[in-house]
Protein backbone atom coordinates (compact mmCIF):
# COMPACT_ATOMS: atom_id res chain seq x y z
CA UNK A 1 0.00 0.00 0.00
CA UNK A 2 1.20 3.46 -0.83
CA UNK A 3 0.62 6.46 1.43
CA UNK A 4 0.88 9.89 -0.10
CA UNK A 5 0.99 13.01 2.05
CA UNK A 6 -0.47 16.01 0.32
CA UNK A 7 -0.57 19.68 1.16
CA UNK A 8 -2.77 21.14 -1.51
CA UNK A 9 -0.81 19.55 -4.33
CA UNK A 10 -1.99 16.81 -6.68
CA UNK A 11 -1.03 13.32 -7.86
CA UNK A 12 -2.18 11.20 -10.78
CA UNK A 13 -3.27 7.71 -9.79
CA UNK A 14 -4.81 4.67 -11.44
CA UNK A 15 -8.56 5.10 -11.49
CA UNK A 16 -10.17 3.40 -8.51
CA UNK A 17 -6.95 2.60 -6.67
CA UNK A 18 -7.71 4.76 -3.62
CA UNK A 19 -8.39 2.59 -0.57
CA UNK A 20 -8.50 5.18 2.20
CA UNK A 21 -7.73 8.80 2.98
CA UNK A 22 -7.87 11.27 5.78
CA UNK A 23 -8.23 15.02 5.41
CA UNK A 24 -9.87 16.69 2.46
CA UNK A 25 -9.51 15.04 -0.95
CA UNK A 26 -11.04 15.67 -4.32
CA UNK A 27 -10.98 12.95 -6.97
CA UNK A 28 -11.34 13.85 -10.60
CA UNK A 29 -11.24 11.44 -13.49
CA UNK A 30 -8.76 12.51 -16.12
CA UNK A 31 -10.13 11.71 -19.54
CA UNK A 32 -7.43 10.31 -21.75
CA UNK A 33 -4.98 10.14 -18.87
CA UNK A 34 -4.79 13.92 -18.67
CA UNK A 35 -2.95 14.17 -21.93
CA UNK A 36 -5.43 16.32 -23.76
CA UNK A 37 -7.24 15.56 -26.98
CA UNK A 38 -4.06 14.50 -28.72
CA UNK A 39 -3.20 12.11 -25.88
CA UNK A 40 -6.70 10.69 -25.94
CA UNK A 41 -6.52 10.00 -29.63
CA UNK A 42 -3.06 8.49 -29.32
CA UNK A 43 -4.10 6.19 -26.49
CA UNK A 44 -7.20 5.10 -28.34
CA UNK A 45 -5.21 4.41 -31.48
CA UNK A 46 -2.36 2.60 -29.76
CA UNK A 47 -4.50 0.55 -27.39
CA UNK A 48 -2.20 1.51 -24.50
CA UNK A 49 -5.21 2.33 -22.31
CA UNK A 50 -4.58 4.19 -19.11
CA UNK A 51 -7.42 5.42 -16.96
CA UNK A 52 -6.13 7.84 -14.39
CA UNK A 53 -7.64 10.16 -11.85
CA UNK A 54 -6.33 13.31 -10.29
CA UNK A 55 -6.27 13.45 -6.51
CA UNK A 56 -5.94 16.84 -4.92
CA UNK A 57 -6.23 17.98 -1.33
CA UNK A 58 -4.85 18.11 2.17
CA UNK A 59 -3.99 15.02 4.19
CA UNK A 60 -2.90 11.48 3.51
CA UNK A 61 -4.25 9.32 0.72
CA UNK A 62 -3.67 5.55 0.54
CA UNK A 63 -3.47 3.68 -2.77
CA UNK A 64 -3.35 -0.07 -3.43
CA UNK A 65 -4.25 -2.47 -6.23
CA UNK A 66 -4.74 -6.24 -5.94
CA UNK A 67 -2.20 -6.53 -3.12
CA UNK A 68 0.64 -6.14 -5.59
CA UNK A 69 4.05 -4.94 -4.52
CA UNK A 70 4.72 -1.20 -4.91
CA UNK A 71 8.09 0.17 -6.00
CA UNK A 72 8.93 3.85 -5.82
CA UNK A 73 10.96 5.42 -8.59
CA UNK A 74 12.65 8.82 -8.34
CA UNK A 75 12.91 10.72 -11.57
CA UNK A 76 15.31 13.62 -12.03
CA UNK A 77 14.51 14.89 -15.48
CA UNK A 78 14.91 11.47 -17.07
CA UNK A 79 12.33 9.22 -18.68
CA UNK A 80 10.66 6.14 -17.24
CA UNK A 81 9.05 3.59 -19.55
CA UNK A 82 6.37 1.53 -17.85
CA UNK A 83 3.45 -0.63 -18.92
CA UNK A 84 0.23 1.31 -18.23
CA UNK A 85 -1.14 -1.63 -16.22
CA UNK A 86 1.85 -1.43 -13.87
CA UNK A 87 1.58 2.28 -13.11
CA UNK A 88 -0.17 3.03 -9.83
CA UNK A 89 0.54 6.64 -9.04
CA UNK A 90 2.73 9.55 -10.12
CA UNK A 91 3.39 13.13 -9.15
CA UNK A 92 1.15 15.45 -11.11
CA UNK A 93 4.24 17.26 -12.36
CA UNK A 94 5.35 14.23 -14.40
CA UNK A 95 4.38 14.29 -18.04
CA UNK A 96 2.87 11.09 -19.33
CA UNK A 97 2.88 9.92 -22.90
CA UNK A 98 3.00 6.90 -25.13
CA UNK A 99 5.90 5.53 -27.06
CA UNK A 100 6.44 2.82 -29.60
CA UNK A 101 8.34 -0.18 -28.24
CA UNK A 102 8.99 -2.00 -31.46
CA UNK A 103 8.67 -5.68 -31.97
CA UNK A 104 8.87 -6.46 -28.27
CA UNK A 105 5.25 -5.67 -27.59
CA UNK A 106 4.04 -8.26 -30.03
CA UNK A 107 5.47 -11.08 -27.95
CA UNK A 108 4.58 -9.75 -24.53
CA UNK A 109 0.93 -9.40 -25.36
CA UNK A 110 1.07 -5.88 -23.93
CA UNK A 111 0.69 -4.19 -27.24
CA UNK A 112 3.24 -2.40 -29.33
CA UNK A 113 3.22 0.73 -27.21
CA UNK A 114 4.20 1.63 -23.70
CA UNK A 115 3.64 4.55 -21.35
CA UNK A 116 6.38 7.07 -20.62
CA UNK A 117 6.80 9.36 -17.64
CA UNK A 118 9.03 12.38 -17.94
CA UNK A 119 10.12 15.15 -15.61
CA UNK A 120 11.14 15.33 -11.98
CA UNK A 121 9.27 13.66 -9.16
CA UNK A 122 8.23 10.27 -7.90
CA UNK A 123 6.25 7.49 -9.49
CA UNK A 124 4.92 4.28 -7.95
CA UNK A 125 4.95 1.15 -10.11
CA UNK A 126 3.37 -2.18 -9.28
CA UNK A 127 4.84 -5.65 -9.60
CA UNK A 128 3.89 -9.21 -8.69
CA UNK A 129 6.44 -9.70 -5.92
CA UNK A 130 9.12 -7.12 -5.15
CA UNK A 131 10.87 -5.86 -8.28
CA UNK A 132 14.55 -6.53 -8.86
CA UNK A 133 16.43 -3.54 -10.24
CA UNK A 134 19.12 -4.44 -12.74
CA UNK A 135 21.68 -1.97 -14.01
CA UNK A 136 22.61 -2.01 -17.66
CA UNK A 137 25.94 -0.55 -18.77
CA UNK A 138 27.65 -0.76 -22.17
CA UNK A 139 29.83 -3.67 -20.86
CA UNK A 140 26.88 -5.49 -19.35
CA UNK A 141 23.88 -5.80 -21.64
CA UNK A 142 20.88 -7.56 -20.13
CA UNK A 143 18.34 -10.01 -21.50
CA UNK A 144 14.90 -10.05 -19.88
CA UNK A 145 11.98 -12.39 -20.24
CA UNK A 146 9.10 -10.35 -21.72
CA UNK A 147 6.70 -11.73 -19.09
CA UNK A 148 8.85 -10.49 -16.20
CA UNK A 149 9.61 -7.02 -17.59
CA UNK A 150 7.76 -4.16 -15.92
CA UNK A 151 9.66 -0.93 -16.54
CA UNK A 152 12.94 0.66 -17.48
CA UNK A 153 14.62 3.99 -17.06
CA UNK A 154 17.54 5.77 -18.67
CA UNK A 155 19.07 5.71 -22.09
CA UNK A 156 18.49 2.16 -23.24
CA UNK A 157 18.01 0.56 -26.61
CA UNK A 158 15.82 -2.48 -26.61
CA UNK A 159 16.13 -5.25 -29.11
CA UNK A 160 13.92 -8.16 -29.53
CA UNK A 161 15.88 -11.37 -29.46
CA UNK A 162 14.54 -14.66 -30.56
CA UNK A 163 15.96 -18.08 -30.06
CA UNK A 164 13.39 -19.70 -32.26
CA UNK A 165 14.91 -22.49 -34.30
CA UNK A 166 13.46 -25.41 -36.13
CA UNK A 167 13.51 -27.23 -32.79
CA UNK A 168 10.88 -24.87 -31.40
CA UNK A 169 8.51 -26.05 -34.06
CA UNK A 170 9.31 -29.65 -33.26
CA UNK A 171 8.15 -29.04 -29.70
CA UNK A 172 11.65 -29.11 -28.31
CA UNK A 173 12.20 -25.42 -27.79
CA UNK A 174 14.27 -24.02 -24.98
CA UNK A 175 11.26 -22.49 -23.23
CA UNK A 176 12.95 -19.11 -23.40
CA UNK A 177 12.49 -18.39 -27.07
CA UNK A 178 11.92 -14.66 -26.78
CA UNK A 179 13.88 -12.11 -24.81
CA UNK A 180 14.21 -8.36 -24.74
CA UNK A 181 17.84 -7.36 -24.92
CA UNK A 182 18.70 -4.02 -23.30
CA UNK A 183 21.84 -2.15 -24.26
CA UNK A 184 23.09 1.25 -23.17
CA UNK A 185 22.95 2.93 -19.78
CA UNK A 186 20.06 2.60 -17.40
CA UNK A 187 18.06 0.47 -14.99
CA UNK A 188 15.56 -2.28 -15.79
CA UNK A 189 12.82 -3.38 -13.36
CA UNK A 190 11.92 -7.08 -13.39
CA UNK A 191 9.31 -8.87 -11.31
CA UNK A 192 9.84 -12.39 -9.86
CA UNK A 193 6.89 -13.75 -11.77
CA UNK A 194 5.88 -14.11 -15.38
CA UNK A 195 2.78 -12.85 -17.09
CA UNK A 196 1.34 -15.12 -19.70
CA UNK A 197 2.90 -14.25 -22.98
CA UNK A 198 2.38 -15.52 -26.46
CA UNK A 199 6.00 -16.59 -26.64
CA UNK A 200 6.03 -18.00 -23.11
CA UNK A 201 5.69 -21.63 -24.00
CA UNK A 202 7.76 -21.67 -27.12
Amino acid sequence: MLAVDMTGDAVKAKNGSMVAYDGQMAFKKMSGGGEGIRGMVTRRLTGEQMIMMEVKGQGTCYFADRASEINLVNLHGDKLYVEASNLLCADAGLRTGTSFTGLRGGATGNGLFTTTLEGSGQAAIMSDGPAVLLRVTPQYPLAVDPGAYIAHQGNLQQNFQSGVTFRTFMGEGGGEAFQIRFEGDGVVYVQPSERNTIGGDA
Binding site: Y140, A143, D145, A148, G174
Partner: protein, 261 residues
Protein backbone atom coordinates in the same frame (compact mmCIF):
# COMPACT_ATOMS: atom_id res chain seq x y z
CA UNK B 1 7.00 4.39 2.17
CA UNK B 2 9.33 1.54 1.19
CA UNK B 3 12.97 2.46 0.86
CA UNK B 4 14.48 2.60 -2.60
CA UNK B 5 15.63 -0.94 -3.38
CA UNK B 6 19.23 -1.56 -4.43
CA UNK B 7 20.19 -1.58 -8.09
CA UNK B 8 22.02 -4.76 -9.01
CA UNK B 9 24.62 -5.28 -11.68
CA UNK B 10 26.64 -8.38 -12.61
CA UNK B 11 29.38 -7.54 -10.13
CA UNK B 12 27.07 -7.07 -7.15
CA UNK B 13 24.58 -9.85 -7.86
CA UNK B 14 25.15 -12.81 -5.55
CA UNK B 15 26.58 -15.99 -7.00
CA UNK B 16 24.26 -19.00 -6.60
CA UNK B 17 22.28 -17.27 -3.87
CA UNK B 18 19.05 -15.39 -3.29
CA UNK B 19 18.70 -11.80 -4.48
CA UNK B 20 15.54 -11.43 -2.42
CA UNK B 21 13.22 -14.11 -0.98
CA UNK B 22 11.53 -14.50 -4.38
CA UNK B 23 14.45 -14.32 -6.79
CA UNK B 24 17.49 -16.57 -7.08
CA UNK B 25 20.68 -15.78 -8.99
CA UNK B 26 22.66 -18.55 -10.67
CA UNK B 27 26.20 -17.90 -11.87
CA UNK B 28 27.22 -19.90 -14.91
CA UNK B 29 30.92 -20.16 -15.75
CA UNK B 30 30.77 -22.26 -18.86
CA UNK B 31 28.80 -24.84 -16.92
CA UNK B 32 25.25 -26.06 -17.18
CA UNK B 33 22.08 -25.97 -15.09
CA UNK B 34 18.79 -27.71 -15.58
CA UNK B 35 15.75 -25.51 -15.15
CA UNK B 36 12.03 -25.80 -15.52
CA UNK B 37 10.72 -24.12 -18.65
CA UNK B 38 9.90 -20.45 -18.35
CA UNK B 39 11.39 -19.75 -14.91
CA UNK B 40 14.24 -17.55 -16.14
CA UNK B 41 13.32 -13.88 -15.73
CA UNK B 42 16.54 -12.13 -16.81
CA UNK B 43 20.23 -12.74 -17.46
CA UNK B 44 23.55 -11.01 -18.03
CA UNK B 45 26.17 -12.51 -20.31
CA UNK B 46 25.87 -15.19 -22.94
CA UNK B 47 23.55 -18.01 -22.02
CA UNK B 48 21.86 -20.47 -24.35
CA UNK B 49 18.69 -22.31 -23.50
CA UNK B 50 18.19 -25.67 -25.11
CA UNK B 51 15.34 -28.06 -24.93
CA UNK B 52 16.69 -31.30 -23.61
CA UNK B 53 15.64 -33.32 -26.55
CA UNK B 54 18.67 -31.67 -28.15
CA UNK B 55 21.19 -34.14 -29.60
CA UNK B 56 24.20 -32.35 -28.15
CA UNK B 57 22.75 -32.79 -24.67
CA UNK B 58 22.53 -36.51 -25.00
CA UNK B 59 25.55 -37.37 -22.86
CA UNK B 60 24.47 -35.02 -20.11
CA UNK B 61 21.00 -36.48 -20.12
CA UNK B 62 22.27 -39.98 -19.70
CA UNK B 63 24.11 -39.02 -16.52
CA UNK B 64 21.77 -36.54 -14.87
CA UNK B 65 18.30 -36.83 -16.32
CA UNK B 66 16.51 -40.09 -15.98
CA UNK B 67 12.91 -39.45 -16.81
CA UNK B 68 12.79 -39.04 -20.56
CA UNK B 69 9.01 -39.00 -20.36
CA UNK B 70 8.80 -35.46 -19.07
CA UNK B 71 11.83 -34.10 -20.87
CA UNK B 72 9.65 -31.48 -22.54
CA UNK B 73 9.27 -29.51 -19.30
CA UNK B 74 12.97 -29.00 -18.70
CA UNK B 75 15.62 -26.95 -20.42
CA UNK B 76 19.40 -26.76 -20.08
CA UNK B 77 21.00 -23.35 -19.58
CA UNK B 78 24.54 -23.24 -20.84
CA UNK B 79 27.10 -20.47 -21.12
CA UNK B 80 28.59 -17.87 -18.85
CA UNK B 81 26.89 -15.07 -17.02
CA UNK B 82 24.40 -14.54 -14.24
CA UNK B 83 20.83 -15.66 -14.55
CA UNK B 84 17.83 -14.79 -12.37
CA UNK B 85 15.20 -17.42 -11.62
CA UNK B 86 11.75 -16.83 -10.13
CA UNK B 87 8.41 -18.59 -10.01
CA UNK B 88 5.11 -16.69 -9.76
CA UNK B 89 6.42 -14.61 -6.84
CA UNK B 90 6.68 -17.69 -4.60
CA UNK B 91 9.50 -18.05 -2.08
CA UNK B 92 12.56 -19.66 -3.63
CA UNK B 93 15.40 -21.30 -1.75
CA UNK B 94 18.48 -23.24 -2.65
CA UNK B 95 19.51 -26.44 -0.94
CA UNK B 96 22.74 -28.41 -1.02
CA UNK B 97 22.88 -32.16 -1.25
CA UNK B 98 26.06 -33.97 -0.31
CA UNK B 99 26.03 -37.57 -1.47
CA UNK B 100 22.39 -37.55 -0.49
CA UNK B 101 18.92 -38.04 -1.84
CA UNK B 102 15.88 -35.87 -1.68
CA UNK B 103 12.35 -36.37 -2.91
CA UNK B 104 10.30 -33.29 -3.77
CA UNK B 105 6.85 -32.49 -5.09
CA UNK B 106 7.21 -32.01 -8.84
CA UNK B 107 5.72 -28.52 -8.93
CA UNK B 108 8.20 -27.21 -6.35
CA UNK B 109 11.46 -28.03 -8.11
CA UNK B 110 12.76 -25.10 -10.14
CA UNK B 111 16.33 -25.84 -11.15
CA UNK B 112 19.29 -28.08 -10.32
CA UNK B 113 22.95 -28.64 -11.09
CA UNK B 114 23.75 -31.46 -13.50
CA UNK B 115 25.94 -33.09 -10.83
CA UNK B 116 22.62 -34.25 -9.40
CA UNK B 117 20.58 -36.94 -11.06
CA UNK B 118 16.84 -36.36 -11.38
CA UNK B 119 14.59 -39.40 -11.26
CA UNK B 120 10.91 -40.03 -10.97
CA UNK B 121 9.94 -41.08 -7.48
CA UNK B 122 7.96 -44.25 -6.88
CA UNK B 123 5.46 -41.95 -5.15
CA UNK B 124 3.37 -40.47 -7.98
CA UNK B 125 3.81 -36.73 -8.47
CA UNK B 126 7.19 -36.60 -6.77
CA UNK B 127 10.71 -36.38 -8.18
CA UNK B 128 13.91 -37.63 -6.54
CA UNK B 129 17.32 -35.98 -6.76
CA UNK B 130 20.37 -38.11 -6.03
CA UNK B 131 24.02 -37.07 -5.72
CA UNK B 132 25.98 -33.97 -4.76
CA UNK B 133 25.06 -30.48 -5.81
CA UNK B 134 22.72 -27.55 -5.47
CA UNK B 135 19.08 -27.25 -6.39
CA UNK B 136 16.49 -24.50 -6.21
CA UNK B 137 12.96 -25.08 -5.01
CA UNK B 138 9.89 -22.86 -4.75
CA UNK B 139 7.43 -22.96 -1.88
CA UNK B 140 4.39 -21.02 -0.80
CA UNK B 141 5.87 -19.30 2.25
CA UNK B 142 9.26 -20.17 3.72
CA UNK B 143 10.33 -23.80 4.03
CA UNK B 144 10.51 -25.38 7.49
CA UNK B 145 12.79 -28.34 8.19
CA UNK B 146 11.58 -31.02 10.59
CA UNK B 147 13.10 -34.17 12.04
CA UNK B 148 11.17 -37.43 11.99
CA UNK B 149 9.28 -39.03 13.62
CA UNK B 150 6.65 -36.62 12.42
CA UNK B 151 3.18 -36.63 10.90
CA UNK B 152 2.48 -33.87 8.40
CA UNK B 153 -0.51 -32.49 6.57
CA UNK B 154 -0.55 -33.67 2.95
CA UNK B 155 -0.93 -30.12 1.59
CA UNK B 156 2.01 -28.76 3.57
CA UNK B 157 4.49 -31.41 2.47
CA UNK B 158 7.18 -30.16 0.09
CA UNK B 159 9.57 -33.09 0.21
CA UNK B 160 11.83 -35.25 2.32
CA UNK B 161 15.48 -36.22 2.43
CA UNK B 162 17.14 -39.45 3.47
CA UNK B 163 14.08 -41.00 5.09
CA UNK B 164 12.61 -43.95 3.30
CA UNK B 165 9.25 -44.29 5.02
CA UNK B 166 6.60 -41.92 3.72
CA UNK B 167 3.28 -43.53 4.53
CA UNK B 168 -0.32 -42.58 5.16
CA UNK B 169 -1.60 -42.26 8.68
CA UNK B 170 -5.27 -42.17 9.62
CA UNK B 171 -6.63 -41.04 12.91
CA UNK B 172 -8.57 -44.14 13.80
CA UNK B 173 -10.77 -42.59 16.42
CA UNK B 174 -12.22 -40.43 13.71
CA UNK B 175 -12.10 -42.79 10.81
CA UNK B 176 -13.73 -46.01 12.00
CA UNK B 177 -17.19 -47.08 12.99
CA UNK B 178 -20.51 -45.68 11.82
CA UNK B 179 -20.22 -42.47 13.81
CA UNK B 180 -16.65 -41.87 12.68
CA UNK B 181 -17.60 -42.40 9.08
CA UNK B 182 -20.50 -40.00 9.36
CA UNK B 183 -18.28 -37.42 10.99
CA UNK B 184 -15.62 -37.67 8.35
CA UNK B 185 -18.10 -37.58 5.47
CA UNK B 186 -20.50 -34.92 6.66
CA UNK B 187 -18.58 -32.94 9.20
CA UNK B 188 -21.54 -33.35 11.62
CA UNK B 189 -20.29 -33.99 15.11
CA UNK B 190 -17.03 -32.22 14.47
CA UNK B 191 -14.51 -33.10 11.83
CA UNK B 192 -11.19 -31.39 12.34
CA UNK B 193 -10.16 -31.86 8.72
CA UNK B 194 -6.97 -33.36 10.08
CA UNK B 195 -7.88 -37.04 10.17
CA UNK B 196 -5.32 -37.98 7.58
CA UNK B 197 -1.59 -37.26 7.63
CA UNK B 198 1.64 -38.42 6.05
CA UNK B 199 3.90 -40.14 8.54
CA UNK B 200 7.69 -40.16 8.48
CA UNK B 201 9.93 -42.16 10.81
CA UNK B 202 13.65 -42.90 10.83
CA UNK B 203 16.62 -40.65 10.22
CA UNK B 204 16.29 -37.77 7.77
CA UNK B 205 14.69 -34.40 7.21
CA UNK B 206 11.16 -33.47 6.18
CA UNK B 207 10.54 -30.20 4.31
CA UNK B 208 7.29 -28.36 4.92
CA UNK B 209 5.89 -25.15 3.53
CA UNK B 210 4.14 -22.77 5.85
CA UNK B 211 0.79 -22.75 4.06
CA UNK B 212 -1.52 -25.45 2.87
CA UNK B 213 -1.87 -23.91 -0.58
CA UNK B 214 -0.30 -26.26 -3.10
CA UNK B 215 1.74 -25.17 -6.06
CA UNK B 216 0.29 -26.50 -9.30
CA UNK B 217 1.94 -29.79 -10.14
CA UNK B 218 4.00 -30.23 -13.23
CA UNK B 219 3.91 -33.47 -15.14
CA UNK B 220 6.40 -36.02 -13.93
CA UNK B 221 5.80 -38.21 -16.92
CA UNK B 222 3.87 -41.43 -17.09
CA UNK B 223 5.31 -44.51 -15.46
CA UNK B 224 5.67 -47.72 -17.41
CA UNK B 225 2.44 -49.69 -17.63
CA UNK B 226 3.53 -52.66 -15.60
CA UNK B 227 2.15 -54.66 -12.76
CA UNK B 228 3.63 -53.55 -9.46
CA UNK B 229 4.47 -50.02 -10.58
CA UNK B 230 2.52 -47.46 -8.52
CA UNK B 231 0.62 -45.08 -10.72
CA UNK B 232 1.43 -47.12 -13.77
CA UNK B 233 -1.29 -49.68 -13.42
CA UNK B 234 -2.62 -48.73 -16.85
CA UNK B 235 -6.20 -49.96 -16.91
CA UNK B 236 -5.92 -52.52 -14.11
CA UNK B 237 -7.48 -51.81 -10.72
CA UNK B 238 -8.92 -48.33 -10.40
CA UNK B 239 -7.86 -46.50 -7.23
CA UNK B 240 -9.91 -47.47 -4.22
CA UNK B 241 -10.93 -50.78 -5.67
CA UNK B 242 -9.28 -53.80 -4.18
CA UNK B 243 -8.38 -56.60 -6.49
CA UNK B 244 -9.72 -56.62 -9.97
CA UNK B 245 -13.31 -57.58 -9.14
CA UNK B 246 -15.51 -55.09 -10.95
CA UNK B 247 -17.92 -53.22 -8.73
CA UNK B 248 -21.50 -54.43 -9.12
CA UNK B 249 -24.35 -51.98 -9.55
CA UNK B 250 -26.00 -51.22 -6.22
CA UNK B 251 -22.87 -52.03 -4.30
CA UNK B 252 -21.79 -49.26 -1.98
CA UNK B 253 -18.10 -49.86 -2.57
CA UNK B 254 -15.89 -47.77 -0.32
CA UNK B 255 -18.83 -46.62 1.76
CA UNK B 256 -19.40 -50.09 3.19
CA UNK B 257 -15.86 -50.27 4.44
CA UNK B 258 -15.97 -46.75 5.73
CA UNK B 259 -19.07 -47.45 7.81
CA UNK B 260 -17.55 -50.61 9.17
CA UNK B 261 -20.10 -52.88 7.49
Amino acid sequence: MPAQSPVWDPTTLPSDDNVNPYTFCVELKGGQWFLQKGKMIAYYGRIDFNGIGHGRMDRLLRTSFHSPLHAGDWVVAEGSGKMLLADRAFDVNSFDLDEGNLTIRSGNLLAYQPSLALKQSIVPGFLTLIGTGKFVAASNGPVVFMEPPIRVDPQALVGWADCPSPCHHYDHGYMTGVMGGLRALTGIGGASGEEHQFEFVGAGTVLLQSTEALLPETATGATPHQAGVPGGSGGAAAPGQHGSTPRLPGQLGDLTRRFGL
